[in-house]
């Protein structure tokens, strides 16, 4: 409206050059119209103000909330009773809690609420709450700094360690429905997550180079578990560069040192990821991680063990992807060979960005049931949903 009036006045002004006589009259009528318009706007404002106020409305500050769910149908050649306390010789005495795809038949694996928000100019807060049948469980809850000098970033709270490639990722963004065997054996089915602090620094260079250090409580019982005081230290370096515009390489190295009830545990890790992008929706990713563990046992014994996985995932288009993964464990570095292997293949269909249906086949030679090594096979169909304000996933 006001724009129109301004335009009109310019137009009138131009016309008035020719018609000097009616100038005053026209200016007068324009001024009148302007005044009438201002009065009307004020009247409208008053009508609103007399009975309402937006002053205490905080809707714009509601955190981003995403709701995530995963469920599956499983066919397996081992009964539920046998499967419920499987072991991996030399690594896992008893499975304990099996968070994903525990039963033959139908599984509602979890619901997860992810809440994140910018706190103020200095902090962000992120949390992932797992909703299980037994109740609410804090998967992650951490605060990150936003404006420390020299590009340092500090993270505090409970979080998944960011070493390597897969550990910090949540189940809903995994390409296969289980964590690699070596991660399950060394840290449990959810990976290494703990209470602690993290400091990271990224170099301001074209070649990506970042260094991270984490001090953690050491509550993870699979490798550490001596948490009378904070005892776990993790350091890692990550570097990445583009070989060509569509081929990227990412490398990482990790060092961990912590206490366990019998002494100390050292873990060394290395990872490599190579990604080729064919077009906006098609890519090929090869990702491998290797972990080596040197751990004190009871009676002055030591265990030197290792494990690795290697996976190849081909994204055909925005809907279809397929992948294979090979997992292996070395129970005792000195006495080889052993065949604690696992083979996984999957086909994934995404109707849209926020839902994923996956058909997966597993041939697992690593498990023991009731003290007996036995091969296990399973076919799984699962559905993953990411709804709400869900942030984009990292590389």
């Amino acid at each position: 409206m006001q724009k129109n009036i301004v335009g009109l006045s310019i137009l009138t002004a131009l016309m008035l050059h020719a018609e000097d006589s009616s100038l005053e009259k026209r200016v007068e009528s324009l001024e009148k119209a302007l005044k009438a318009n201002q009065d009307r706007l004020l009247q409208e404002k008053m009508q609103k103000a007399i009975s309402s106020s937006d002053s205490f409305n905080q809707q714009a500050f509601v955190p981003d909330i995403a709701f995530i769910a995963n469920m599956s149908a499983v066919v397996r050649d081992i009964s539920n009773k046998k499967y419920s306390d499987y072991a991996i010789d030399g690594f896992i005495g008893k499975a304990g809690e099996i968070p994903f795809n525990e039963k033959r038949g139908f599984n509602l694996n979890y619901g997860e609420m992810e809440i994140s928000s910018t706190v103020d100019p200095y902090f962000d807060i992120d949390t992932a709450l797992h909703i299980k049948k037994e109740g609410l469980h804090i998967g992650e809850l951490y605060v990150t700094t936003k404006s420390l000098p020299y590009g340092f970033r500090l993270k505090m709270g409970k979080f998944k360690s960011e070493f390597g490639r897969i550990n910090s990722k949540h189940q809903h963004s995994w390409r296969f429905s289980n964590i690699p065997l070596v991660f399950e054996s060394f840290f449990g089915a959810g990976g290494l997550g703990d209470e602690g602090v993290q400091l990271t620094y990224t170099l301001p260079t074209d070649t990506y180079l970042m260094a991270g250090y984490e001090a953690m409580q050491g509550a993870n019982g699979r490798s550490f578990g001596e948490d009378d005081a904070n005892s776990l230290h993790i350091g890692y370096l990550k570097s990445g560069f583009d070989i060509t515009d569509s081929n990227s390489l990412l490398l990482g190295a990790t060092l961990m040192h912590g206490d366990n009830p019998n002494g100390q545990t050292d873990i060394y890790g290395a990872d490599i990821t190579l990604k080729s992008i064919f077009d906006s929706y098609s890519s090929l990713t090869w990702q491998s991680e290797l972990l080596y563990r040197d751990r004190d046992l009871q009676n002055d014994k030591r265990a030197k063990q290792a494990g690795a996985y290697s996976e190849l995932v081909y994204g055909y288009n925005s809907n279809w992807a397929m992948g294979v993964r090979y997992d292996t464990l070395f129970k005792n570095i000195a006495n080889q060979p052993e065949d604690l292997d696992k083979y996984t293949a999957m086909v994934e269909y995404k109707p849209f960005e926020f839902s994923k249906i996956r058909l997966q086949y597993v041939y697992d030679k690593s498990k023991s049931f009731g003290g007996q090594r036995e091969d296990e096979q399973e076919i799984l169909l699962d559905l993953t949903i990411e709804s709400g304000s869900h942030g984009a996933h990292a590389f």
Binding site: Y208, S283, E353, H393
Partner: protein, 304 residues
């Protein structure tokens, strides 16, 4: 005497150091990252020799889904200014990169962050926002870059930002803006006149990527090949589009470079319409490597 010598030497050193620091500060270029190529071209035109521009997205790829490569983190880490398209076009790939780069200058709210969509009057603002309608942008259609008329206010905004971050060269930026704006105004007038005849023309497009340009030349979009934004074509919907094209005698199908081209070709074969590949960004199509050639090609390929 000796003491005085010593003092003098120290003072000299200090002066040299200060001069060195000052000169590097004066001669240092402003590091600027832009998400898309067209923003990079505008920034280069405004910043001239005073800026070093890095473009994050490959213009041949889907602007919604750029792979957040680690090399981009290192790049963002050292920038003084980050210029984004906005309108949620970058929401699917930029936030994790910004988080990892942890450069407070270019985070939202930082001195070097600039979202150019602030100067745009959005069209296609959805009445209802729900993902039941596909990948909707709540603020409206973010693909305003295809309209040459939006580039002038964007250039002005960029020149303002550069002047604030780097006031030493304020006059240069303003002068560059003036010559840029007059050049673009001349081109847009030329295109407006040349393609007046295409008013009322009807087209079909893959994604609602060219609506701003269509509006400029008075071209009507009758349907989209994708059933909903971000949803791949279904045979049912494709048949519907074929029927619409036949019924309304539509001659042109607008196709971008990054979506599959099979469906458009199939529809063309069934209806006799022609598939016209239209660039969505500078550098998306060969021969559209400058802003001038990009806007000329957009108009030409929509109207012909």
């Amino acid at each position: 005497m000796e003491l005085m010598h010593f003092k003098k030497g120290k003072k000299m050193k200090k002066t040299i150091l200060i001069t060195l620091l000052l000169t590097t500060a004066i001669f240092a270029k402003v590091n600027i990252a832009t998400t898309y190529n067209y923003l990079g071209e505008v920034t280069k035109a405004i910043g001239g020799d005073e800026v070093k521009v890095t473009v994050l997205a490959n213009p041949k790829l889907d602007p919604h889904f750029i792979t957040p490569k680690p090399s981009l983190i290192g790049k963002l880490r050292k920038e003084d200014i980050l210029i984004i398209n906005g309108g949620q076009l970058e929401i699917g790939w930029l936030p994790p990169l910004l988080k990892s780069a942890n450069n407070s200058k270019i985070n939202v709210g930082g001195s070097g962050f600039l979202d150019v969509s602030g100067v745009i009057t959005f069209i296609d603002k959805p009445k209802n926002v729900s993902r039941a309608y596909g990948d909707v942008h709540p603020d409206g259609n973010p693909h305003f870059a295809t309209d040459i008329h939006t580039i002038i206010p964007i250039a002005k905004l960029i020149s303002m930002k550069l002047s604030i971050v780097n006031p030493t060269h304020k006059l240069t930026y303003e002068a560059n803006y003036k010559s840029f704006a007059s050049k673009m105004e001349a081109l847009s007038k030329k295109l407006d006149t040349k393609y007046q005849s295409c008013k009322g023309k009807k087209v079909v497009q893959y994604h609602e990527l060219f609506n701003y340009a269509l509006k400029v030349y008075g071209v009507k979009n009758i349907g989209n090949i994708e059933p909903l934004p971000g949803i791949t074509p279904s045979s049912k919907h494709t048949l519907k589009i074929i029927n619409i094209i036949k019924k309304q005698n539509i001659r042109t199908i607008l196709q971008d470079v990054y979506h599959e081209k099979k469906t458009a070709q199939f529809i063309a074969n069934k209806t006799g319409a022609t598939v016209s590949i239209v660039p969505h960004d500078v550098g998306a199509v060969e021969g559209a490597d400058t802003l001038e050639s990009f806007y000329t090609m957009v108009a030409q390929r929509i109207c012909q």
